[in-house]
Symmetry: C2
Subunit: 198 residues, 2 copies
C-alpha cells in the first residue's frame, strides 16, 4: 500500500467553513483537496491501494481509504465537501477510534505523531528533502509512506518526528514542488519502479 500523510497547518477542524472560500477562510483547504486528487485519481480509475491521512492542525485526522472510497470527484469543492462531512462526525470519534462519515472517509482525533507512528508500523517512511538522495537512485519500497506539508514548511517538531521515523531521505528533482505535485511525482516513481518500467 502507498500512504500519504498531508499536514494542514491552517486547515479547519470544524465544519463551519464555506465551500466558496477554500483558499481563504477555509485555511487553504484547497491544497489538501488537490493532494487527495493526486493521491487517488487515474484517468479512468481510483487507486485502490492508497491511503491518505489529512492531519488538520495536529488535532484531527481525516483518512481516505482507496479500497472503500466512493463519491470522490476530482474537483476541489466536492472533496472539501467530503472533508466537511467528516468534520460533522467528529463527535462520534472517541479517543483514537475513528468514525466513518461516508464510504472510505474516516475521522479521528489524532495528531501527526500518532498517525505517523501507525503508518510507519505498516510501511517504509520516505522523507522528501532537498538534501536527500536522487529518488531515481533509490529502490522503491513496497509499502511507502510519504509525508508532505501544505503551503507552510514543516515545523521543527514535525521535521524531527519525520527524521526519526524516516527509513530513506530522497529528493524528487531540482525544483521544490507543491505537495500535490510531489504526490504525483512519487506515484510516477512507484508506477515505473524507479523510472525503469513503462
Amino acid at each position: 500500500m502507498r500512504q500519504f500523510i498531508v499536514l494542514g497547518h491552517d486547515a479547519p477542524t470544524t465544519p463551519d467553513f464555506s465551500l466558496d472560500d477554500l483558499a481563504g477562510g477555509a485555511g487553504r483547504l484547497d491544497v489538501l483537496c488537490r493532494c487527495v486528487n493526486s493521491a487517488f485519481f487515474l484517468s479512468h480509475a481510483i487507486r485502490e491501494d492508497v491511503e491518505v491521512h489529512l492531519v488538520l492542525r495536529d488535532e484531527v485526522t481525516v483518512r481516505f481509504d482507496g479500497s472503500e472510497l466512493r463519491r470522490l470527484n476530482p474537483d476541489e469543492r466536492s472533496t472539501a465537501a467530503l472533508i466537511r462531512g467528516a468534520l460533522e462526525e467528529k463527535a462520534e470519534a472517541i479517543g483514537h477510534m475513528e468514525a466513518e462519515s461516508s464510504p472510505g472517509v474516516h475521522i479521528s482525533k489524532r495528531g501527526f505523531e500518532a498517525v505517523l507512528e501507525e503508518a510507519a508500523r505498516d510501511g517504509t517512511v520516505v522523507q522528501l528533502h532537498e538534501d536527500g538522495d536522487p529518488v531515481a537512485d533509490v529502490e522503491p519500497p513496497a509499502d511507502p509512506v510519504f509525508v508532505v506539508s501544505d503551503h507552510h514548511d514543516f515545523g521543527d517538531d514535525e521535521e524531527s518526528l519525520l527524521a526519526d521515523a524516516a527509513d530513506a531521505r530522497v529528493r524528487l528533482g531540482p525544483e521544490l514542488l507543491h505537495a500535490d505535485h510531489a504526490i504525483t511525482v512519487a506515484h510516477n516513481y512507484l508506477d515505473t519502479e524507479g523510472f525503469t518500467r513503462y
Copy 2:
C-alpha cells in the same frame, strides 16, 4: 520554453458560468484550472518559461504566459475567475489577434489547429501516447510542446493533427494519468533532464 496545449471539449466559451459549479455547469473547467496550476506553480515561484494554451471547444483559446503572469493563485476557483475574465474580453479579439484580459492572460478566437501550428513553429511537439516510447529513454527537447485533453479522449481529428505535428511519441508510465498529473510528470522529466539530474 515549455508549452502545454490543453483541449477543453465541454468548456464554456462565454463568461456566463458559476464559479460554484466548475465541475458541472461550467463543463469541467476544474480540469483546465488544475492544468494551469500544474503548469505554473513551484513551491515558492511561478515557472516563467511556460506557456499554457487552453483551447475551449475548438473555438476560443485562453493563453497564459508565465513571463507576464500576475494574480494567478493555485486554487481552481480563482483560476476559473481569470478564465471568465478572459471570456469577457472575447469581443476585443479580432480574427487571430489576441486581447489581454489581465497581466499574462490573453484570449483569441483560435481553435486547436491554429494553436498547434504556431506552437510547433517554436517548439518540438511531444505526443503522449500509451504506445509511445518510455519517456525516460527520450532526450528532453529544449522547447517541448505537450498536448493534453480534458476528461474526454482526443477526437479523431485532433488525434490526426497531433500525430502529423508530433516529433516524438512518448508514454509517461504504465498508468493513464489525468491531464494535470501528466503535466506535473512532464515537468519533472524536463527538470531532471530525463530523470538524471537531481
